[in-house]
């Protein structure tokens, strides 16, 4: 395959994205909101850091303490705030970039002019995908650079491990954006006009992003039924900001043990169903990966239990753990989600590719 045509198309597309009004407006909004999220996250990180320092000084006062030591908060918490905005505005940016890539060329008939040049069809579709990908990398790279700048402004210097985690976060975010870009590109290829392509893409965005997790939860609820009732005792709880929620009350040890087993069985039955639905939602996959990278200790435990009612026990369980999992361990836990996220881009781009290669240009 000649690369000249591919790079020519990719260059034109990349410059076209970067100079288009819609890209500039949405990217601007995305960057501003990301910066605000970073600011918010930085405040949260500083608060946790203060709390951590306070706990450490209190422990040091206790002579001969050999028990549990609190973990120092990671600056990755700051990026957890950012992931929410990427899921919404980032996805919209990716959709805005892709929905009219081919449909507009069909409408303005520039596609015929392009195809009359000595260029292979696959160079056109690949060039468009490459140009869009580079523009998304540029957008995400800019957002990450701004976030790093904000961290430095607040005198927060990331360690090498944290820099690696930030890089992985950036790559995963790009893969997430590519999933919606590929969906939009596919719709642009199969739809008659740009208006229809945009509507269909937004419908898919809504289904995959919002509807599917709800459906998953509902189906799981229908299959597994209601969660088991706790033993007959007056359950009370207390929430402490730094330590989470604690349940306490009466009841025998045997009753509690039986309840915990039933709850675990119920959770295990429910887990594969919700996981299947979550795997086919780019948003849920991205959210899970982002959460794991941002706060691996908490989320590893929470997702392993995957039951909202067992959260208190989860926290009690992890409190005893000695250290947070490494980045490699985290990636090992979310490999299915990463694979699912990559599959979205591959599958939808493959549909766009096949459709475009077979398209009759009249």
């Amino acid at each position: 395959m000649e690369a000249k045509g591919l790079f020519n198309v990719a260059k034109k597309e990349f410059i076209g994205h970067l100079t288009s009004k819609k890209f500039i407006v949405i990217l601007g909004l995305f960057l501003i909101i990301s910066a605000l999220a970073m600011h918010q996250g930085t405040d949260n990180y500083n608060e946790r850091l203060e709390s951590y320092k306070e706990q450490i000084s209190q422990i040091k006062e206790v002579e001969g303490h050999v028990g549990w030591m609190p973990d120092k908060p990671s600056i990755m918490l700051v990026f957890m705030f950012m992931s929410d905005y990427i899921m919404m505005l980032g996805a919209i940016l990716a959709i805005a970039m892709g929905f009219d890539l081919l449909s507009k060329e069909k409408e303005t008939r520039s596609l015929k002019s392009l195809l009359s040049c000595p260029v292979f069809r696959d160079e056109i579709i690949n060039g468009k995908a490459l140009g869009g990908t580079l523009a998304l990398v540029f957008a995400m790279g800019t957002a990450l650079l701004i976030s790093l700048a904000i961290l430095l402004i607040f005198s927060i210097v990331p360690s090498m491990n944290e820099l690696a985690a930030i890089l992985v976060f950036g790559i995963v975010s790009i893969v997430f954006l590519l999933a919606y870009f590929a969906i939009a590109l596919m719709m642009s290829t199969v739809s008659r006009d740009s208006g229809s392509a945009l509507i269909y893409t937004l419908v898919i965005f809504f289904i995959l992003g919002s509807l599917l997790p709800i459906v998953g939860s509902t189906v799981a609820g229908m299959v597994t039924g209601e969660p088991p009732e706790p033993p007959a005792f007056h359950l009370q709880h207390e929430t402490n900001e730094s330590e989470g929620t604690f349940f306490y009350g009466g009841g025998t040890e045997e009753e509690m043990q039986q309840y915990q087993e039933e709850l675990r069985a119920w959770s295990e039955k429910r887990k594969p169903i919700t996981e299947v639905f979550n795997l086919i939602s780019p948003n849920m996959n991205y959210q899970k990966i982002a959460f794991f990278i941002s706060d691996p200790r908490i989320y590893s435990a929470v997702y392993e239990q995957s039951s909202p009612s067992s959260k208190s026990m989860t926290i009690t369980t992890i409190v005893g753990e000695s250290s947070a999992p490494s980045l490699q361990e985290v990636l090992g836990k979310v490999w299915k989600n990463i694979l699912a996220l990559i599959s979205f881009s591959v599958v939808f781009f493959a549909i766009a590719y096949i459709k475009f290669m077979r398209m009759d240009i009249r």
């Binding site: 000249k4 303005t108 520039s110 596609l111 002019s113 009359s116 040049c117 000595p118 009759d360």
Partner: protein, 307 residues
């Protein structure tokens, strides 16, 4: 032996079970300006799209300069220029930027591209236009399309309805350009449904109807060939000083008389001028004028299309 630049062999394209082009066999010689004539929906654009390698034939093949289009579309695209019907460009770019983008697909370096683009924009009178193509009129876009088709200095040029959006001045310039390109030895394939346009610039004409080539030849050859086949009735116009009496003959199909009966248009299956003049003479009616109206090429084509 005459070189055939463009050749189609049993070229067929089927869309949803309907044959848009049906077993088309064409041979167009080098340097020829060939007019491809036919009504809308006859299969002209589909034929061109197959010839320029944009769509693949269902059956048969297209050969341009001994290269089979479906087997080597890129090689063909390097030596041809194509102006599509309703040509389009990138509206957010200037004419120069558009042409530069397309020129990058050909083996042209930056200085070559710049020089060629300047020449072509001058040729189509868009050199002084700095606005983006999105603000162009249809005529300006059409002229830019012509420049785009000539970008690679093609050996073979395909023009699909080239004058569709041009004003009279633009049409005149287009005709001059075709003559100039023909003199340079280029083979030009002009597709149109406008007979007058094709007859003004083309040396040979092919007529397509319902996907099939129904006639081919020079203008004169076509006129006589189709005149025999297509025109069933002759029109004899008679003007007299006295009122015309009723004339009957088995070959007369229709006769229309003016209110004063001093003018008649007689449609007949054969040339009845001798018969009519003798009849009028017998009745003492003096003839002011009598002429037979031959069918125009337009009439002939229409009668052929409608059959």
């Amino acid at each position: 032996m005459e070189t055939k630049t463009i050749k189609t062999e049993n070229l067929t394209k089927v869309y949803n079970g309907n044959k848009a082009v049906d077993g088309l066999n064409l041979e167009i010689a080098e340097d020829d300006v060939f007019g491809f004539l036919g009504p809308n929906g006859a299969g002209k654009s589909t034929t061109i799209l197959m010839l320029v390698g944009m769509i693949e034939p269902t059956e048969g093949k297209c050969i341009i300069n001994d290269i089979e289009v479906a087997r080597n579309p890129l090689k063909v695209k390097e030596i041809i220029g194509y102006l599509p019907e309703d040509v389009g460009f990138y509206g957010d770019m200037t004419a120069e930027q558009n042409l530069d983008y397309f020129a990058r697909f050909y083996a042209m370096d930056a200085s070559e591209r710049k020089k060629r683009i300047e020449e072509l924009l001058e040729l189509v009178q868009l050199a002084s236009v700095s606005q983006k193509v999105g603000g162009y009129s249809r005529g300006m876009t059409q002229r830019l399309g012509l420049a785009k088709a000539l970008l690679n200095d093609p050996e073979v040029l395909f023009l699909d309805e080239p004058t569709a959006n041009l004003d009279p001045e633009g049409v005149f310039q287009y005709r001059e350009l075709i003559k100039q390109l023909s003199d340079e030895g280029k083979t030009i394939f002009v597709s149109s449904h406008i007979l007058s346009e094709v007859s003004k610039v083309c040396n040979t004409i092919g007529i397509i109807s319902k996907g099939t080539l129904i006639a081919r030849g020079t203008l004169e050859e076509l006129k006589s060939e189709l005149g025999r086949v297509g025109a069933e009735n002759l029109r004899i116009i008679v003007e007299t000083i006295e009122p015309i009496p009723e004339i009957t003959h088995r070959d007369i199909v229709n006769a229309e008389y003016s209110e004063t009966k001093r003018k008649a248009i007689i449609e007949a299956k054969s040339d009845l001028r001798d018969y009519i003049s003798s009849k009028l003479f017998e009745k003492g009616v003096k003839i002011k004028e009598m002429r037979m109206e031959e069918p125009t090429l337009e009439d002939v084509f229409l009668s052929v299309y409608r059959r």
